[in-house]
């Protein structure tokens, strides 16, 4: 069984702060991490390998620095990794990213592809399903539990807005996973040693046979027009006086607004 996990290296947005004076992001000292959902995808892959056997390959598309994320994957227990990196990929939107991953996965071959539900920097959740579309395989989003996996099929629980569905699919299939699915293991000492020694194999646009009109900025239908700081809400009031006076003022306001 060939299992491929697609991961992304992202800035730890939980650490990102806004400079209140300039309204810009303070990125200084913000660490790069494996996208948290992708860590659960790696764990899911390792668990599937334990159940059904096979090989786990973790791939990432990103700049050379993303190699670090792949070493962490090896430390967790991945058998193999690939860095899909090329200057030509710069500026890719979700369309071009899915296409690029498709070309890479096609090269490697996969029975099960796992992705995190979304990346915490872009929060789009679009790359996984689009990748499945190019592969012409089914996908199941928001997987929260693996119920069963065999050589030919998989049964999982899919999180919905009002509960969950039990969904069955033949292989090959792509799954995107949510955090409830598992508790990711910590890297083992042996894994850390392997990660240190590993030679990271790089794949370029040419290696994966990606067509230039479909990658990077040129292959991206969407463009960022601009970015700006979220607007603060107007009409703010900090109430004053003793707690009792403050509560009185609040209740009076709520009555005025006919909320009480």
């Amino acid at each position: 069984m060939q299992i491929i996990v697609c991961i992304k290296q992202v800035p730890d947005t939980a650490e990102v702060r806004i400079n209140p004076e300039t309204n810009t992001l303070i990125r200084e000292g913000v660490p790069s991490i494996i996208n948290p959902y992708d860590v659960h995808a790696i764990e899911a892959a390792l668990q599937i390998r334990e159940k059904a056997g096979g090989k786990v390959t973790v791939i990432t598309m990103g700049p050379p620095q993303a190699e670090e994320a792949l070493r962490e994957s090896i430390a967790m227990g991945a058998d193999d990794v690939r860095l899909i990196s090329d200057r030509l990929f710069a500026g890719s939107d979700t369309w071009a990213t899915s296409y690029t991953l498709y070309k890479a996965v096609q090269k490697l071959g996969a029975d099960i592809i796992l992705c995190g539900k979304q990346a915490i920097d872009g929060d789009t959740a679009q790359v996984g399903p689009a990748l499945a579309e190019y592969m012409n395989i089914p996908h199941i989003s928001y997987v929260r539990k693996l119920e069963d996996v065999t050589e030919t099929s998989i049964r999982v629980q899919r999180l919905m807005d009002d509960g969950y569905d039990v969904v069955e699919s033949p292989l090959p299939v792509l799954l995107t996973v949510v955090k409830e699915m598992n508790v990711p293991r910590l890297p083992s000492l042996k894994g850390k040693m392997a990660a240190k020694k590993a030679v990271i194999i790089k794949m370029t646009a040419e290696d994966i046979g990606a067509e230039e009109q479909n990658i990077g900025l040129r292959g991206s239908p969407t463009q960022v027009k601009n970015i700006f700081a979220p607007q603060a809400k107007g009409d703010r009031r900090v109430l004053e006086g003793t707690p009792e006076q403050q509560v009185d003022a609040l209740v009076a306001e709520l009555r005025r607004l006919q909320c009480v």
Binding site: P11, T13, V16, I18, T22, T24, L25, P63, P64, R87, G91, D93, T94, S98, I120, D121, D123, T124, A125, V127, G128, P129, A130, P138, H139, I140, S141, Y142, L159, M160, D161, G163, V166, E168, S169, P170, Q213, R218, P221, T222, Q223, V224, N226, I227, F228, A232, D235, R236, R237, V238, L239, P243, E244, Q246, V247, D248, L250, L254, C259, V260
Partner: protein, 397 residues
């Protein structure tokens, strides 16, 4: 397209380094240089005080892949679950109406599954046409038939704009549609406008955990597709006498390899439903322990609201995850949001800041929650909440 820095002009002030959300600006020998992380978001251009940063065309701009003028009309995808159209569909008709008027075109809904009465309801909420596919295949949600039929309809009727809810269903199958058609798809938009000059759809969405907003365009491909965050757009006007056209859609020849064996509505999720609540009373770390939620529940019951929480309280194990509001929980938009003992980390604020009225109760006057609060009370919640309960009871007589 790429961003270039004029090294002659660059003063090494590092304004761009701080402004770049992708960490693509570095200092080398006292000058700013761009690394591989650049996403051409142009955030650096305006912050440069000396105008040293600009955008150059490389001749690699997107070439139009289809004839844009052939594409007309605004479509919204009306999702249904267990035969009932989801509320987000009516919100999509609200924003869809505005966009259709600005583009001087028609507004249509697409409905897979459900009965005629639900299609009629979409018309009353503002749809002029409803493309309605009725088939047992749509009794449960499977990505493949949904995306295949949507692709078929788009290729046949060529709408200019296609909107869907940023829900479990919408966010799952719509990326397949955009991928197959080769067009842009913008996720989880919170604002949509038409650019008066070009007629393009300006798709505005939060990124980086809500730390920045980005305006996204899809200038050269059609349709322009977006998923829209639920409970952000206002519903359209309901008119029981409005009439429209229902166009039956043939669902033959669709394939479906996945199979839904069971569809379980979880009691907690359905009952609480934070996203439909008009009033939410939320507790955070400031409660001190799980017992604090008893007080929160009392306030919630009194005002007819539901109980929410910050991530901190969930992580402490004081309350189940399904109550969590914020980036990794639910995004809510109630009439009143009462935050008790919640400091207001960005991740929480992005999930509740569009509430009509925000009331914050916190001991710390510098807590960021007060930056978004309509009314702020600085004080101990264990003193303030019992008072609030008493005063509301008094006010009601």
């Amino acid at each position: 397209m790429r961003i270039v820095i004029d090294a002659e002009l660059c003063t090494g002030c590092e304004a761009c380094v701080n402004a770049c959300p992708f960490g693509a600006m570095e200092m080398k020998d006292g000058k700013a240089v761009i690394n591989d992380f650049c996403n051409v978001c142009k955030g650096c251009i305006d912050v440069c005080p000396v105008g040293a940063i600009s955008e150059v065309a490389d001749g690699d701009e997107f070439k139009p892949g289809n004839d844009l003028a052939d594409y007309k009309g605004v479509w919204i995808f009306a999702e249904q679950r267990h035969g009932k159209v989801a509320g987000v569909a009516y919100e999509l008709l609200g924003i869809g109406r505005k966009l259709a008027e600005e583009r001087n075109t028609t507004l249509s809904a697409v409905l897979f599954g459900a009965d005629d009465s639900e299609a009629q309801e979409l018309i009353r909420w503002g749809a002029e046409k409803v493309y309605h596919a009725k088939d047992v295949l749509f009794d449960t949600f499977n990505d493949e038939p949904y995306s295949q039929l949507m692709i078929r309809l788009i290729e046949q009727y060529k709408p200019e704009i296609v909107l869907a809810g940023a829900t479990a269903i919408g966010r799952s199958f719509v990326p397949r549609v955009a991928g197959r058609i080769k067009t842009g798809l913008t996720a989880d938009c919170t604002q949509l406008e038409i650019d008066r000059e070009t007629g393009n759809l300006m798709q505005i969405r939060p990124a980086f955990g809500g730390n920045i907003m980005a305006t996204i365009l899809c200038p050269s491909y059609r349709p322009q597709m977006a998923t829209v965050r639920p409970r952000v757009m206002k519903r359209g006007e309901y008119d029981a006498s409005r009439t429209g056209e229902i166009i039956p859609v043939n669902a033959e020849g669709l394939t479906c390899r996945t199979r839904v064996l069971a569809s379980v509505c979880e009691e907690g999720t359905c009952k609480i439903n934070l996203q439909d609540a008009e009033i939410i009373v939320s507790g955070g770390r400031g409660l001190g322990d799980a017992k604090g939620f008893e007080l929160i529940r009392e306030v919630a019951e009194l005002v007819g609201g539901v109980v929410g929480s910050s991530r901190a309280a969930v992580d402490e194990g004081w309350i189940p995850y399904r109550h969590q509001v914020g980036q990794t929980g639910k995004t809510v938009c109630p009439k009143i949001y009462i935050a008790c003992g919640i400091s207001g980390a960005v991740q929480h604020i992005v999930g509740m800041s569009s509430s009509d009225i925000i009331i914050a109760i916190n001991k710390n006057p510098d807590a960021p929650i007060f930056n978004v609060a309509t009314y702020g009370i600085v004080g101990d919640l264990y003193e303030v909440l019992p008072l609030l309960i008493k005063k509301i009871r008094e006010a009601r007589g």
